[in-house]
Amino acid sequence: MAQINMRQAISDALWEEMERDEKVFILGEEVGVWGGTYAVTKGFYEHFGEKRVRDTPIAEAAIVGAAIGAAMVGLRPVAELMTINFAFVAMDHIVNEAPKMHTMFGGQMTVPMVIRTAGGGGRQLGATHSQTPDSVFAHFPGLKVVSPGTPADAKGLLKTAIRSEDPVMFIEHAAMYQVKGEVPEGEHLVPIGESKVQREGSDVTIVSYSRGLQLSIQAADQLAKDGIEAEVVDLRTLRPLDLGPVLESFKKTNRMVTVEEGWGTYGIGAEVAARVYDQAFDYIDAPIKRVAQKEVPLPYNQALEQHALPQVADVVAAVKEVV
């Protein structure tokens, strides 16, 4: 299998789907001439032309709104929001239009679209540009929310998302485009709504996704040196949330740590913990610990920002608390 990075995996998924289906097109700020601010769509404009790779004005509600309309009449738009922080500008269309159309008209319309966006902190972009508010979007039924942690999943999930009949919010991590991993060749599809064990272990279950997954794997490697074998489960999809592999793992380890980059309060780990306690009550040996961002808007200063973000050491410490 080829070792490719996250950027390439995502780019390949887009490219292949555009080659496969000419109803698929891309719209967003700087996706065309510039080649994408994270260079994910580099070369697309030249190859597919301006009809299918559409630079837009700075108007996020129009980007998502137009994607909705185009999807309703039969196209398969991939709308790019430069970062998830700008998704708030299009919030109504993301959570109150796209996910409601199908149900509100009794199934008459579908909205087969993808909103690709990049989240995450750690790049000194300041409070407004560094967020990981994934749970906020995943709160809404009707929307599917995906956030991959490996290149293989990124590729396979994005391809599935583009083929999905439902609106999918696809959240990448801006600091992970260089992360490498093995990606199967040929047609590679990963189903939406399935969690996955990314590392096996028997002493503790770490539940995470996206960049949290990276931290978790690194923590697991460190812990292994101390003889602690952590099993790492990757949620991959935040709505619908699949707790199957999480519960299975937990019933084996009886101990759990959740890891997310965003704020913990009303975050991803809270939901996972609440469900696990409820559904595996008899298996709990210690309270579930949540590792998350400190509850502050992220500061610009690098050291202070890193201090506020969850680190591998935090995961290690949390695991040591529960084992």
């Binding site: 559409r54 137009a66 149900t103 509100m104 579908t110 009707g142």
Partner: protein, 323 residues
Amino acid sequence: MALKKKDHLELYRQMVLIRRVEQRAAQLYQEGKIGGFLHLYIGQEAVSTGIVSVRKPQDRLITAYRDHGLALNVGISAKEVVAELMGKETGVSKGRGGSMHMADVEKNYWGGHAIVGAHIPVAAGMALGDQYMENDGVTICLMGDGATNIGFFHEGVNLSAVWDLPVLWVVENNQYGMGTAVGRASAVEQIRQKAEGYNIPNARLEDGMHIMKVREGVEPALEHVRSGKGPYFLEIMTYRFEGHSMGDPQRYREKGEVEKWEKTDPIGIYNNYLTSEKIATKADLDKVEQAVEDEVAEAVEFAENSPDPAFDTLYDYVYAEGE
């Protein structure tokens, strides 16, 4: 398109049908058989009827929550409309949408949207779909005067101009957004002036109460768009005779204002026109009115006898695919 007598009678029928369905709906609302919001179109019938009478089947329609007029004009039956108002499974949106969310995709009517202005970028996207697929349909997007102040308007209309989209923007200026007179919310004297900020050709149709004038104004606008010249922007002057929704105290009106406008009742005007131009006799029109009475009575009976959606259908249209 010159109209024959039977065409006129059909248009007259539609206008009377809208009026009677809504009057009956207001009663049903008082009786507690209709809930939620109920925004009546009474007074504005010439606008939607005129527009639909000149559109071609491939022209898509989309509007805000004041959507019963268009619903009946495109040929959704009074039964399905009343059943939807009463939340029944037999309603056009299967009882999921209610008054604000009527659509019939088969009839190229895309609803009925409740968030002010949110459908404007969606309409741009629909037009993009047609442009992309090289259809010759025009998307006709109706909106209220109040909606022209929200950011969605700006983003959607600008996009249509930048991308030369085949969309006809129609502002139904009924002189109020809820209780706010146009002049208290918009800075221009005529709303069509807003189109200047997007370099879109535009016009104001001073008399939206006379269906013949509406047709005369809309037809060339529609052809302008169809001929590939990009979007067109039409402001149509009209008036809403009833409150914004049910239970509106209407403290915001000037004294005598409603009475003055009622003299310009679009149904009265059309009736007058048809008889004075000797296109139809009073007896012809009476017959139409009687048929409408019967149709509405039947529709109400149908709706009352229709079942509520079954509880086990609750999740049916949340996702189009999987969960």
